[in-house]
Symmetry: C2
Subunit: 251 residues, 2 copies
């Protein structure tokens, strides 16, 4: 396991639970490599050169921006290498090995928060059929939701995931900040957050859009923006999204 | 029940299930009044003048922008009147009756999608103690999550709910549109949407923020914005939110 961040953490633990032997864990810092290695009964690797070639699969699970750098230091040309990124093309791995592929779990991971991998969509891609077979086998051991997706579609999926997850979480964060400003608890919003997400499991998001902008209720929008007078950054976001929703539903 | 929209629908059904008698349902169109009236064994009311004064509670559950207009036509000065709005001050009801209050369920409602009212936070407010007692009794019959909240705090809650629900749903919608543009299914994102919402039930949103903007990964942000070249409206939203997240975590 090359990497010990949020994704590496959950994959290493998941694979280990399914009976796969994690041989070594490398990370930019030996501390985080050791922390993960300990939990999956593996050895921490001091540097990339010390990775043993006797490994069926190298999983590069570092941040997207670090992949090129890590790959350039990699010299196990006979081994199957995959990365776990949504946004990096499979071909970034070409040239370092003849066998390569992608193993992208479409989920949001935080180190210490458990995730049920069995439902996570794994988007896989490979340089050849033999590689695809092995990657599929590993993915299917973790999840029943495995899809072969090419690099172009995977980038689009990753982009859509930024909206559906990173940006919706940011909306929760803004809501939480606004409540904090008057000592109100985010707990009051939790049933609403849960229900909003729950609705789109069975209905299309456009069918269940509600709120003042959807209704074209300019008076309420105005009240809200006035209330954000002391938080201009929030007002800017509020206004743009209200405008876009109105355009979408009223033009 | 004065109104037959999304909120009125769920409240009338919930109250009816708890043994309250819904006497009449009024709505701007007799069709929607009849549709709801039929389901809760009530009479549809042709106009506001035909509402019987022999009622313990008038619930005004029309859109925020229609409340003032509806209230101005109301002439049951002896009765307890409440509205169900997050953004309208309680005092909008003063003058039409001596007994008034607010009964605001903090949830997103769509007519035909069932909601578990038992967990919905009800924000209540009243013109006096007697009124507060009755409103609390009714709210507690539906939910174990009842809070006395004044008009000012309620407006702030409503504003935060726009971010946490309306705007997060809009993020799902943008994600869905982006996937549609290349024939990919929104189903792929459903485990992610569920997990993102689930995380903030136990963790603060700021602690579980992930993604390229959070990491300051300009290269990935750039790839995403390029991918949105043919969807400039989406690129504008993407860019603003990426900037705000970066400012928040990297300055």
């Amino acid at each position: 396991m090359v990497g010990a961040g949020n994704v590496a953490w959950h994959l290493a633990k998941g694979l280990s639970l399914k009976g796969y032997k994690i041989v070594q864990v490398w990370s930019r810092t030996i501390e985080s490599a050791s922390e993960l290695a300990q939990r999956v009964n593996a050895e921490p690797a001091e540097d990339l050169d010390s990775l043993t070639p006797e490994t069926d699969l190298f999983i590069i699970s570092v941040s997207d921006s670090a992949i090129t750098d890590v790959v350039s230091q990699f010299n196990h040309s006979g081994s199957l290498i995959v990365h776990t990124s949504g946004s990096v093309s499979m071909n970034e791995l070409a040239g370092r090995s003849n066998s390569f592929g992608v193993f992208y779990p479409l989920q949001t991971f935080s180190k210490y928060i458990p995730v049920n991998l069995a439902e996570v969509p794994f988007c896989i891609e490979a340089s050849g059929n033999k590689e695809l077979g092995l990657i599929r086998e590993v993915a299917q051991s973790l999840s029943s939701n495995v899809h072969e997706i090419n690099s172009e579609d995977r980038l689009l999926l990753h982009l859509s995931a930024v909206f559906a997850s990173n940006y919706s979480n940011f909306m929760y964060m803004l809501a939480s900040d606004i409540l904090d400003s008057r000592g109100l608890s985010f707990d009051l919003l939790k049933p609403l957050v849960a229900e909003t997400a729950h609705k789109v499991i069975t209905s299309a998001p456009s069918r269940v859009q509600t709120g003042p902008a959807k209704r074209g209720d300019l008076n309420t929008i105005d009240k809200h923006i006035k209330l954000l007078a002391s938080m201009p950054e929030y007002a800017e976001i509020y206004r743009l999204l209200a405008d876009k929703i109105r355009q979408r539903f009223h033009s």
